[in-house]
C-alpha cells in the first residue's frame, strides 16, 4: 500500500509538470526543454527556506513561484527572439545554465551534496508527514491546477496562443503583440512547475542538482508527447503511463542500476516510436 501511495504521489507531481508544460509546448507550439529548471527552482526554494529560515511550507511555495516567475520572465524575453528548433536549443542552454547554478552556487545550494532534512508540511492540525495525507494534499493541488489550466485552455487568451502556434505572422497582422502572449504563458507554466518542485522537495525531504538535469526535462517532454499535445487530459494520461510503465520493469527482475537504465531506454524508444507512428501522441490534438 505504501508503495502504491508512493507511486501515486510521483504521478501527481509529474502530472502537474506535464499539464504546465503542455500549455507551452502543446498550445503555443514552443518546444521547451527547460522545464526541469523551474521545477528545480521550486524545489530549492522550499528546501532552502524550510531548512535555513523555518518558513512554512505553503509560504515557500509562494516564494518558489515568485523566483520562477522572475527567472522565466527574463529567459522568456531572450527566447522570444528564437523560432522552431533554435528555440529548443536555446531552452537546452538555459536548462544547462540553471543546472550549473544549482551545482556550483555552493553557499546557497550546497552543490552536489544537496540539502537533506526538509520537513513535511502541517496545516490545521493535519500532519502531512503521513504519506496518505500528503497524497491527498498533492491531489488537491493537482486538481486545482488542472482546472485552472483548463480554464486557461478554453479562454480567448488560449485561442490567441493556438493562432501563434499555427501561424505567428498572421496573428501579428491582426494586431496582437505575440511577444506578450508567449511570455505570459511561459511564465505561468514556470510558476506551476515551481509548485511541483516544492512538493517534490518536501516529499523526498532531500534535493540535489541531479534531479534537475536536462534528462528530466526530456522526461517531462516525453510525458506530454506520449499523452498528447494540446490536450490536458493527455498530459495526465502520459504521466500515468510513464510512471507506471517502468515499475513493470522492476518486477521483471532487473537489478536497481540496470532497471534505472532500462527506464531510459524505454523513454527513448517511446519517443522514437511516437515520432514514427503517432506524432500526436495517444489523445493529442496537435502534431509537432
Amino acid at each position: 500500500m505504501e508503495y502504491l501511495i508512493h507511486l501515486a504521489i510521483l504521478f501527481a507531481i509529474y502530472a502537474i509538470l506535464g499539464v504546465s508544460l503542455n500549455l507551452v509546448v502543446g498550445y503555443t507550439g514552443l518546444l521547451s526543454v527547460t522545464h526541469a529548471a523551474f521545477y528545480g527552482i521550486g524545489a530549492y526554494a522550499t528546501a532552502i527556506l524550510l531548512t535555513k529560515t523555518g518558513t512554512g511550507f505553503f509560504a515557500s511555495i509562494i516564494v518558489g513561484m515568485i523566483v520562477a516567475i522572475a527567472v522565466s520572465f527574463f529567459i522568456g524575453i531572450v527566447l522570444s527572439k528564437f523560432k522552431g528548433d533554435y528555440y529548443a536549443l536555446g531552452t537546452v542552454g538555459f536548462n544547462t545554465i540553471i543546472f550549473a547554478i544549482f551545482l556550483n552556487l555552493q553557499s546557497l545550494t550546497k552543490g552536489p551534496l544537496g540539502i537533506p532534512g526538509i520537513s513535511k508540511p502541517k496545516l490545521f492540525g493535519i500532519n502531512f508527514a503521513d504519506n496518505f495525507n500528503f497524497l491527498i494534499l498533492v491531489l488537491v493541488f493537482l486538481g486545482f491546477i488542472y482546472f485552472a489550466s483548463c480554464f486557461v485552455a478554453n479562454s480567448s487568451f488560449c485561442r490567441v496562443l493556438k493562432a501563434i502556434r499555427e501561424d505567428e505572422e498572421a496573428i501579428q497582422v491582426f494586431g496582437y503583440n505575440t511577444l506578450y502572449f508567449k511570455l505570459a504563458i511561459f511564465v505561468i507554466s514556470a510558476a506551476i512547475a515551481a509548485v511541483a518542485g516544492s512538493f517534490f522537495a518536501s516529499y523526498i525531504t532531500f534535493v540535489d542538482p541531479s534531479s534537475f538535469r536536462l534528462m528530466e526535462s526530456v522526461f517531462i517532454l516525453a510525458i506530454i508527447i506520449l499523452g498528447g499535445l494540446a490536450n490536458l487530459r493527455g498530459s495526465i494520461l502520459g504521466a500515468l503511463c510513464l510512471i507506471l510503465l517502468p515499475e513493470i520493469l522492476r518486477f521483471v527482475g532487473f537489478s536497481v542500476d540496470i532497471a534505472a537504465q532500462m527506464r531510459q531506454v524505454v523513454y527513448g524508444v517511446i519517443l522514437i516510436l511516437l515520432m514514427l507512428y503517432r506524432p500526436q501522441g495517444l489523445i493529442g490534438e496537435y502534431k509537432l
Partner: protein
Amino acid sequence: MDILPQLIINSIIAGAIYTLIALGFNLIYGATKFFNLAHGVVVAIGGYSFFYFAKTLGLNIYVAVIIGVLLVGFVGYGLNKLVYLPLRKRKASNMVLLVASLGAFTALQAIIAILFTSQFKTLSHGVGIQRIFEFFCGVITQTQIIIILTAILVMVGLVLLLYKTHLGKAVRAISDDEEMARIVGINTNKVIGYTFFIGSAIAGLAGILVGFDTGIEPTMGLSLLLKGVIASIVGGIGNIYGGVLGAFLLGFVENFGIWKISGEWKDVIAFALLIVFLIFRPKGIMNK
C-alpha cells in the same frame, strides 16, 4: 604570468576536439537541416567500441581504432535508415526529427550504461606514462598533440572530399537545395546515408581521442555534442570552415573565461556565448 601559454595550449586542444564534433555535425546538418542530437551518443559509442575491441578483446590499437570508427559509422548510417529516413519521407517537421533524435540519444546512452556500467573508464594504459612535451612554459601530452593533428587531418580530408570528389559535389548540391539535387538525378537518400556514415565516423574518432585524453563514461556525449552544436552555430551552421572557426573561438572563450572565474562555470560560458550569438548574429560568423 606563465599561465598564459598554458591557457593558449588548452584552448587549442579544446578547439581541436570541438572541431571534430562540429565537422560531423555540420556535415549532417548541411544535408538534412535538422539538429541531430544523437550525434552526441555516437561519440560515446566510439569511445566504448574502442574500449571493447582494444581492452576486452585485446586487439591491436590501430585495428581497434579502425573497427571502432567503422562501427560508429554504421551506427550513424543505421539510425538514418531506421529513424530519420522514414520521417523525412513523410515530410516530418524539424521538431519531430529533433525529438526522435533526442529519443535515440536517451535510449542508446542507457544501452551503453547497461553494457559497460556507468563507471568512468580510461583508454590510455595508465596515468603518468604518457610522454609530455614542454612548449613555451606550457605542457602538452602526446595524446593531445595527436588530437590536434587528427583534427587538422580530418578537416583537410573532409574539404578534399567535399570539393574534389563526385560524392562531395553531390553532398554540396543537397546542402544547397535537396529538391533540385533530386531533379538533376542525384540519389539524395543514398548520399545522405553516406554523410551520416562519414559524420558519425568522425564523431566516433573524436570519442576515442577524448577517451585517451581524459576517459569515457556513458554521459560524455551530451556536453561534447552541445559544444559541437554551439561551435557550429557560432561559426555558421552547415558551413565546414565556419564549424572549425566556431570550435576554436569556443575553445578560447571557454578557457580564457575560466582564467578569472572558477572552472565549473565552463558550460555556462559556452551557452552564454551561444545565446549572445543567437541574439545578435543568428546565422553565425561565416554565413550571410
